[in-house]
């Protein structure tokens, strides 16, 4: 993979080092995310997966001790450049979290709210319907749009959170262990939804579930921790290659359960 500026990638990191105070949590990451594909990030606990993911939409800005070196390019532009508005970044690059966290508002408002705040001028009802359809939730909630988002099942809540992220028209959706609180059926629904969404959106998912990464992603990045506890990317490739014939022994050891 090249180091030239390349708008061909959805996100490209160059020499990225991520710190909390003096602690370097992640080091020397050069990663190119292919657009409209699903990329999984896997690795042992504490190797910096969430830290990397959150750096892609500047969520780490909320951590006072956080500091970064290097560049994270989105459409060829460094999202950490002085003149870039982090709010804009978070609108174009949305995030779905581990625990479904709908607002304590109606289903309708959960979806409409972000769009309204961003000054959406179109028909909100239509937007809400379309977005809920895109999130594969419409049929289940269309008669109860006034009900609280919190009244839904875990899997439905998570799809509502995905709808909420979609409503502001992002290009990239980051997901941090989005299924870890869900049962297998709800998990499969999210995976099917991810596959559907990847026709339009770029998806990056952090998961501890190896089978999920193998099933649901096109590319897989394996991170591990170095002796200094800093996370680093060991191997990155097409998912089928990583899970049938990893090139690095550390990847092999991790995915076959020989780690640690």
């Amino acid at each position: 993979m090249t180091h030239e500026t390349n708008n061909h990638y959805a996100i490209e990191t160059r020499g990225v080092n991520l710190y909390y105070g003096n602690f370097r949590a992640v080091k020397d990451v050069d990663l190119q995310i292919v657009p409209q594909k699903i990329t999984a990030i896997i690795g042992p606990s504490g190797c910096g997966k969430s830290t990397v993911l959150r750096s892609f939409n500047r969520m780490n800005d909320f951590v006072p001790s956080f500091r970064m070196e290097g560049e994270i390019l989105f459409h060829g532009q460094n999202i950490y450049a002085e003149d870039v508005d982090p709010v804009m970044v978070r609108q174009r690059i949305g995030m779905v979290f581990q625990k479904p966290n709908p607002f304590p508002k109606s289903i309708y408002e959960n979806v409409a709210w972000g769009a309204r705040i961003n000054g959406y001028k179109g028909n909100l009802d239509e937007l809400v319907e379309q977005t809920l359809r895109d999130a594969a939730l419409w049929d289940e909630v269309k008669d109860n749009l006034k009900k609280s988002g919190l009244s839904l099942s875990g899997g439905q809540q998570q799809r509502l959170c995905i709808a909420r992220a979609l409503a502001v028209k992002p290009e990239i959706i980051l997901m941090d262990e989005p299924c870890s609180a869900l049962d297998p059926i709800a998990t499969l629904k999210i995976e099917e939804l991810m596959r559907e969404l990847s026709r339009q959106y770029t998806i990056i998912i952090v998961t501890h579930n190896m089978q999920q990464a193998a099933r649901a992603s096109d590319y897989t990045a394996f991170f591990t921790m170095d002796d200094d506890r800093a996370g680093l990317m060991v191997e990155y490739g097409e998912t089928h290659q990583i899970f049938t014939n990893p090139r690095d022994q550390r990847t092999e050891d991790y995915i076959t359960g020989r780690f640690g």
Binding site: M210, Q211, A214, F243, T244, N245, P246, T251, E252, I255, T256, G257, R258, F259, G260
Partner: protein, 226 residues
Amino acid sequence: MPRETLDRQIHQLQDEVLLLGSMVEQALLNAVDTLKRRDISAAQKIFANDIAINEKRYALENALIIIIATQQPMARDLRLLASVLETIIELERIGDYAKGIAKVVIRLGDSTLPMPMREFSQMAEQAASMLHRALSAFINEDAAKAREIVLEDDQVDELYNKAYRAIVTTMIANPEIIDDANLLVWVAHNLERAADRVTNICERTVYIATGELFELDTDDSEETAY
């Protein structure tokens, strides 16, 4: 180590593959021996024994599917288990070739047909020896050994051609024995195919070790066998 169960299950499976392999190896050697001695009752025993080989193959396949379902293997483990599946199928087929030879012994009865027995015996010994070493390379995931064994297939092909020429020559000289002689072509063919199956096992060994899947024996022996 957090994966003792999987390692133990894999080792058990490998032991069983070796056991199946030795059953098949023995069947092949015995079959040619019964032909040499024209021992019909021994040939019938080979028939009975083939049932045990088939049963073992299915028992192994079942155990294998359970490991895949319960352990969800990845990477080298996955390649290994997929290769075990392929290998036990190859072993069962080699067992079928031995059975085929036993069938010929029974069909020939006490016919006094001249046979290229030396070639048959050599082919059986060569194939059995290749099989034995191929399985040991398979268990040890020794790709270099596996590649070496594949090269020996040429010797079996050569013996096949010799035997085939001998049989055809006999047929031409004495067209009345064509039906029986045809059975001998079958014997030669089965022995030749047995060695080919061994090369398939060797391919699997290379796959486990390297992740590369391709045909090692490229001289079209499958074509010349017919």
